[in-house]
């Protein structure tokens, strides 16, 4: 009887591995919209990715709070809207949703406005932060223009769709 079950165990284990593999693929899926995938937005740099241990190279002391919240990796890329408004997208892949939630809820200022995006999000005049599953996304523009808030929202939804 035990001998007869072995193939099933092997098949089950294989199925788990395949499922796990699919899960891994989803984790490393590229969340960055291509140029013009979101109207008016051009991707202007290569995507840089930092493992948790190397995150200091990108954000120095800020790395500590992400590491303590369980960040696994961080990817970043620059964008430009209609050739003028510059922005940067950071995607923090956390170990779980709890880590993403913790970061989102830290350091919000009184002018934060809730935004319907992902599992939860907030918007400021020049930035949007939202979480979806274990991903925490931060989009920041370097200036504020009459159209920047709307343009950032469109870009944020472009990222959300790829997560």
């Amino acid at each position: 009887m035990r001998v007869n079950l072995k193939p099933w165990i092997v098949i089950a284990a294989f199925a788990v591995l395949v499922a796990g593999g699919v899960g891994c693929k989803k984790k490393v899926a590229n969340p960055f919209p291509d140029s013009n995938a979101v109207a008016g937005w051009q991707k202007t740099s290569d995507t840089r990715t930092f493992a948790a241990k190397d995150l200091w190279q990108y954000i120095d002391g800020d790395a500590e709070q992400y590491i303590s919240a369980g960040v696994v990796s961080t990817s970043t890329s620059d964008y430009k809207y209609q050739g003028q408004l510059e922005a940067v997208i950071d995607v923090y892949t956390m170990g779980d949703t709890v880590g993403a939630k913790k970061i989102l809820e830290t350091g919000q200022s009184s002018d934060a406005k809730p935004m319907q995006i992902g599992d939860a999000g907030i918007a400021y005049a020049q930035s949007i932060i939202f979480r979806k599953g274990p991903s925490l996304v931060r989009i920041v523009s370097y200036e504020s223009t009459p159209t920047s808030a709307q343009a950032l929202q469109a870009l944020a939804h472009g990222v959300e769709a790829k997560l």
Binding site: G61, V88, G107, S109, D111, A112, S127, V140, Y142, S144
Partner: protein, 349 residues
């Protein structure tokens, strides 16, 4: 500005310096006086009556409320005037060229350690770097003897700078080009390798940090800027960067060569730093200038606290991240300067 125009990148770096041997020889014979009040280029100024109250460290906070226009854009033309006012107030010497000659040793290579880590929105301003370079050259420093530097090309580009290693022009490059010393330097908790830009290229360094809140250290300004001159800054972030910042600044080469701060507080973040968080951005429209790095940082801390209070944010102490390294830097084991308000001669102009 000569040397800051876009030029082809050259991989060969000028390591040898005409004056380096002379400087090291001077240092080795003990002629360079160490300590919080180093006195090579500043000797004449410090000994002038009225420049410093007895036993105190002078810090100048120069402000220009019109530095940023109603549209929030920096009026770059006003930066030179603000710098001149700050240096005039610090030295007591009206003519900028003369004032700068008192600040810098003649015939030496001067480094400007900027800070571009926060990215484009919160990095040392190009306009300030240009203004300093202008005055250095007027004071007799050859363009090739000015090195504007930071960790790497990306940080420098965040400041609006273009990489240049042509020795005939102002040089702009990072430690990613120069590399780091093979030999470790150490003091207390700091066991680090120094950038060869600091050890080989520069005789004196002027820190040009940008004022920021820091999620670990509380505040990053003059002393914390030195995390950008070493190979593994992440190793010194424990305990709110305390005693890491103080220990690092006690490394002899840093202590001896980094002699003056022209702190960029034209734009700052009062929370969420050291990265760019536009929701916490504000314009102090100020430069914070001084030789005593501890006094400068103590002063900068108060600027951050004032803005945090205005925004209804808790004090850094209440937020759990007071910049304890400032107190440590002033203690008997470090003696990098003073954090005693009674011994800081604060001049707000």
């Amino acid at each position: 500005m000569d040397g800051l125009k876009p030029v082809p990148f050259k991989t060969s770096v000028r390591i040898a310096m005409n004056n380096r041997r002379d400087f090291l020889k001077t240092a080795a014979t003990g002629a360079v006086i160490l300590g919080s009040q180093s006195k090579l280029g500043l000797a004449a100024m410090l000994e002038q009556p009225g420049q410093h109250a007895a036993g105190s460290s002078k810090v100048v906070v120069a402000r220009d409320p019109q530095l940023h226009g109603p549209d929030g854009q920096l009026d770059e033309k006003r930066v030179q005037a603000l710098l001149d006012r700050a240096i005039h107030s610090y030295t007591g010497i009206e003519r900028p060229t003369d004032a700068w000659k008192h600040l810098i040793p003649a015939g030496k290579t001067i480094g400007l350690k900027v800070n571009g880590l926060g990215g484009k929105g919160i990095s040392s301003h190009l306009a300030l770097v240009l203004a300093i370079c202008e005055r250095l050259q007027q004071a007799g420093v050859k363009p090739g003897n000015i090195v504007v530097w930071d960790r790497n090309a990306r940080d420098l580009e965040a400041c609006g700078l273009t990489i240049n290693t042509d020795p005939g022009k102002i040089r702009v490059f990072g430690s990613d080009v120069s590399g780091f010393e093979d030999q470790q330097s150490s003091f207390g908790s700091a066991r680090i390798k120094l950038s060869k830009i600091l050890t080989h290229e520069c005789d004196m360094v002027i820190g040009v940090p940008i004022l920021k809140d820091h999620s670990g250290a509380g505040v990053t300004f003059a002393m914390k800027n030195m995390y950008g001159v070493i190979d593994r800054p992440q190793d010194l972030h424990a305990g709110g960067c305390n005693p890491g910042v103080a220990d690092l600044n006690c490394i002899p080469t840093i202590r001896e060569k980094v002699r003056f701060t022209i702190g960029d507080a034209m734009t700052s973040v009062c929370n969420g730093g050291p990265g760019f968080h536009p929701e916490h951005l504000w314009q102090p429209n100020a430069l914070i200038v001084g030789e005593d790095r501890v006094a400068v940082d103590h002063t900068a801390w108060q600027v951050i606290e004032k803005q945090r209070a205005a925004k209804g944010l808790p004090t850094l102490e209440a937020a759990g991240r007071p910049p304890r390294y400032i107190t440590t830097a002033a203690d008997a084991a470090h003696l990098l300067g003073t954090n005693d308000p009674n011994r800081i001669h604060l001049l707000e102009v």
